[in-house]
């Protein structure tokens, strides 16, 4: 037990860690016109598959930017949501950006961040040196990580199957989820970790539901087994 003898001292202590980004990458590439499932990739250099997120833009200064799995709306095409949309996913050695472009050739600028999954025990090098990168500022909230783990989702038969993880926080907590898929857009690839809600055809309809006592992975009928990763925060 740590104690403070004087109120003039400040002690900052938390039983819950903050998010720590272990991968930061930015760059650009040319996205060809009228391309579906176009892939851009880069080596992430980590000894594990990172849990990725970030955003993308068509302006070099990111003056308008989009989350992955979202994009420019509307497409102007029947049955197609976005004019341009990009998803991010990672394999054991690379980070991929899968792109759908229903318009002209454009330069895409991307920013990708990655977390280390709980299942990893790798030693990793800091992103920055001399404490110069993560800023814990009292001007902002730092979401406190409460549960950080992975779970194996079973293959399903002819009915919807639910897999739950109890958190008992009592509110709807901030939650991030990723699912490992072996295929996307009908092509078989090595196991790749996709954020939940990806729109690149990899999701197989799996959704992640948050309520006041648990998160629930909702598995559609007739899908194979998957590994899912989740990060549940004490913050709502």
């Amino acid at each position: 037990m740590t104690s403070i003898d004087s109120a003039k001292e400040m002690l900052m202590i938390s039983d819950y860690p903050f998010d720590q980004v272990v991968l930061l990458k930015s760059g650009s590439f040319t996205l060809p016109a009228s391309s579906s499932g176009y892939l851009h990739s880069f080596d992430h250099g980590l000894s594990f598959t990172p849990l990725c997120g970030g955003n993308w833009s068509m302006q070099t200064d990111f003056s308008i930017q989009y989350e992955y799995s979202s994009g420019t709306f509307p497409s102007g095409l029947l049955g197609v949501l976005f004019q341009r949309t990009i998803n991010v996913f990672a394999t054991s050695d690379k980070v991929y950006l899968s792109c759908d472009n229903n318009s002209s050739t454009v330069t895409i600028y991307y920013r990708v961040y990655g977390f280390e999954p709980k299942s990893s025990s790798s030693l990793i090098s800091p992103i920055a040196s001399l404490g110069g990168d993560m800023t814990l500022s009292s001007d902002y909230g730092n979401p406190k990580l409460y549960l950080d783990n992975c779970i194996d989702l079973p293959s399903t038969g002819g009915s919807v199957q639910l897999v739950n993880v109890i958190h008992n926080i009592g509110t709807h907590p901030q939650t991030m989820g990723w699912v490992t898929y072996d295929t996307y857009n009908g092509s078989t690839v090595e196991p790749a970790v996709h954020p939940i809600g990806s729109t690149n055809g990899a999701s197989e309809g799996i959704t992640l539901v948050i309520n006041e006592v648990e998160i629930v992975w909702v598995l559609p009928p007739f899908i194979g087994a998957h590994r899912a990763y989740y990060r549940i925060y004490l913050d709502s």
Binding site: V21, G71, G131, T135, L136, P143, T199, V216, D235
Partner: protein, 134 residues
């Protein structure tokens, strides 16, 4: 540091700083009528706070009371007069300081459709983060 009531700590790993949250809702009228192959759309645009922020989204429906779906978009499956149809609910950005919550109800049939009975309100919630980039 000039103002002692503030503090800054640093480590060698960046993090995501939560600068707030925004939300909105859209109500779909019960038994909505949509022409064959047509769509009904609705949207609400809100100020997302600091320019360049990242979004961590959640979406809920009054027909799935108490459940929030993680992600920037979700398709709710419903059954209307011509059979199953989807309600697509998603978030997108019309500008760098705004976020739009959008709903599209699609009639997949070439015949006119009447949607499920009962008004349905779609709720959106987006935590906004300062991106860990220079």
């Amino acid at each position: 540091m000039i103002i002692p009531s503030k503090f800054i700590l640093t480590t060698d790993f960046p993090t995501l700083l939560n600068e707030g949250a925004v939300g909105g809702s859209i109500t779909i009228p019960g038994s909505i009528a949509i022409s064959g192959g047509g769509n009904a759309t609705g949207s609400v645009t809100v100020d997302s706070g600091q320019a360049g922020s990242l979004s961590r989204g959640r979406i809920a429906s009054t027909k799935n009371f108490g459940d929030w779906y993680a992600g920037q978009g979700i398709i709710f499956n419903r059954v209307g007069s011509v059979g199953p149809y989807g309600i697509v609910a998603f978030m997108w950005r019309p500008s760098n300081t705004q976020i739009t919550f959008q709903v599209i109800v699609n009639n997949p049939s070439s015949s006119p459709m009447v949607g499920e009975a009962g008004d349905e309100t779609i709720y959106f919630y987006s935590n906004q983060f300062v991106a860990p980039y220079a």
